[in-house]
Symmetry: C2
Subunit: 223 residues, 2 copies
C-alpha cells in the first residue's frame, strides 16, 4: 500500500515503488465481466500484473488472491494471457470512450482540447492500475490480441492529432510539429500510469485540470 519513498519532502515522488498500490475492488470499469468469479479473477490479475508485471505473476498468485484454487482460473479464461487481454481491451476501450466526441458541442478547438486532455488525464489517474497494465504489458499479448488493442490505441492517437490539426487550421493553435505535440500531450497522461499513486498530492480531477492547462500552453492557446 505505502509507496517506498526516500527521506525527502512530501512532494518527492521518487517515481514508482517496488510495491505498487492497487485499487479497484468494485470499480464500475469491470461491471461487465461476468460471472462474478471471473471478475474476481480478473481484478486479482489486474492488481498483480500492475505490481509485478505479467511475467512476474503466477496463475497461483492470481487464483489465491481471488480466493480460489489454481485450476479455477482455467474455467473462466483459456490462458493467463487471455486474462491479460481481457483487462487490456477493456481498459483501452474505456480510455477511448472517456474522450468527449467531436460532436460534443465544444466547437472551439481550445475548449475541446481542454476537455479531452482533462478527461483522458483524469481517467489515467483514477484507473492508474488498469492503465499501467494496458500501457506496459503490451509485449506479453499474443499477436492477434496485440492487434486488437493496437487498433484502439491508434484511434486515440488520431483523435488527439486531429484536435490539434483543427486548431492549427483555424489559426487558434501555433505548433511546430503537430504529430510530435500530440504524442507529447498523450505522454503526459499516459505517464501517470507509471508514477501516480492514490496518495498523490492531487486528485485525478485536479491533475486533469492541471494537465489540460499545460496542454493548452503547449499549443500556445491563451484560453
Amino acid at each position: 500500500m505505502s509507496a517506498k519513498v526516500l527521506p525527502g519532502g512530501v512532494d518527492d515522488i521518487v517515481t514508482v515503488a517496488p510495491e505498487y498500490s492497487t485499487d479497484s475492488g468494485a470499480d464500475p470499469l469491470w461491471e461487465g465481466v461476468e460471472p462474478e468469479p471471473a471478475r474476481r479473477l480478473l481484478v486479482a490479475g489486474l492488481g498483480l500484473f500492475a505490481a509485478q508485471g505479467f511475467h512476474g505473476t503466477t496463475t497461483r498468485d492470481i487464483a489465491a488472491r481471488a480466493g480460489m484454487s489454481p485450476a479455477a482460473l482455467y474455467v473462466h479464461y483459456r490462458t493467463k494471457e487471455d486474462l491479460l487481454f481481457r483487462i487490456s481491451r477493456i481498459a483501452h476501450e474505456a480510455a477511448l470512450a472517456v474522450i468527449p466526441p467531436e460532436s460534443s458541442g465544444a466547437g472551439d478547438p481550445a475548449g475541446r482540447l481542454r476537455a479531452a486532455v482533462a478527461a483522458f488525464t483524469a481517467w489515467h489517474a483514477r484507473h492508474h492500475t488498469a492503465a499501467r497494465v494496458a500501457q506496459y504489458e503490451l509485449a506479453a499479448l499474443e499477436p492477434a490480441h496485440f492487434r486488437a488493442v493496437a487498433a484502439v490505441r491508434l484511434a486515440i492517437e488520431r483523435i488527439f492529432r486531429k484536435m490539434i490539426e483543427r486548431g492549427v487550421a483555424v489559426g487558434k493553435f501555433e505548433v511546430s510539429d503537430t504529430p510530435a505535440t500530440a504524442l507529447a500531450i498523450l505522454s503526459l497522461a499516459i505517464d501517470l500510469a507509471r508514477w501516480y499513486q492514490p496518495g498523490s498530492r492531487h486528485s485525478p480531477e485536479e491533475l486533469g485540470d492541471l494537465y489540460a492547462g499545460l496542454a493548452l500552453r503547449m499549443v500556445r492557446s491563451g484560453q
Copy 2:
C-alpha cells in the same frame, strides 16, 4: 527491428510494438563494464529486458545472446537481478550526468531549463533501450538495489523542480504548481522510453529541441 504498426499514416506510432528494437552493441555507455564477456552479457540482458521485461527473460536467453553457456552468467554476476541492477544503476547515473550543472554558465532560468530538457530528452531517445529498463523494471530490483537507484531518481527530480522554482522566483516563469509541472516535464522525456524507436521521425537531438520548446511553453517563458 521493425515496429509492428497498423495500416495507417507513416506518423502513426501505435505506441510500442510487441517486438522491441534494441540498439547499443558498442554504446560508450557500457564502456566501463569489464571484462568484455561481462559487458556482452550485460548488453544482451539489456536488450532482452527492454523487449520482454526482466521476468520475461531467462538466464538462458541472455547467455545465448551473449554467445555463452548458461553457467557463464554466474561467473560475472551473482544473480540475474544483479545484472539488472548494474544496468539500472549505470543508466540512472548517466541520465543524471547529462543534465547541465547549475554552474554551467546559463544564469538565465529559461536557457537553463531549455538546455536541461533538451539534453535529458535526447538522452532518453538515444538510450531508449537502457531508459526503458531503468524506468520500467524498478519493481524487479531487490530493496537495497531499489534504494540505490531511487536516490539517483530523487536527485533528478529535485534538479528539475529547483530549476522551475528559480525561474518562478525571479519572475521569469509563471506556473500554477511547480512540483506537478516538474513531473510533467520529466514525463515527456521519460515516456520516450516507452514509444521511441530508432525509425521515429525525429532524431534524438530534434526531439530534445522540440521538447525543450514545449517545456518552455509549459512554464510560460517566451524564450
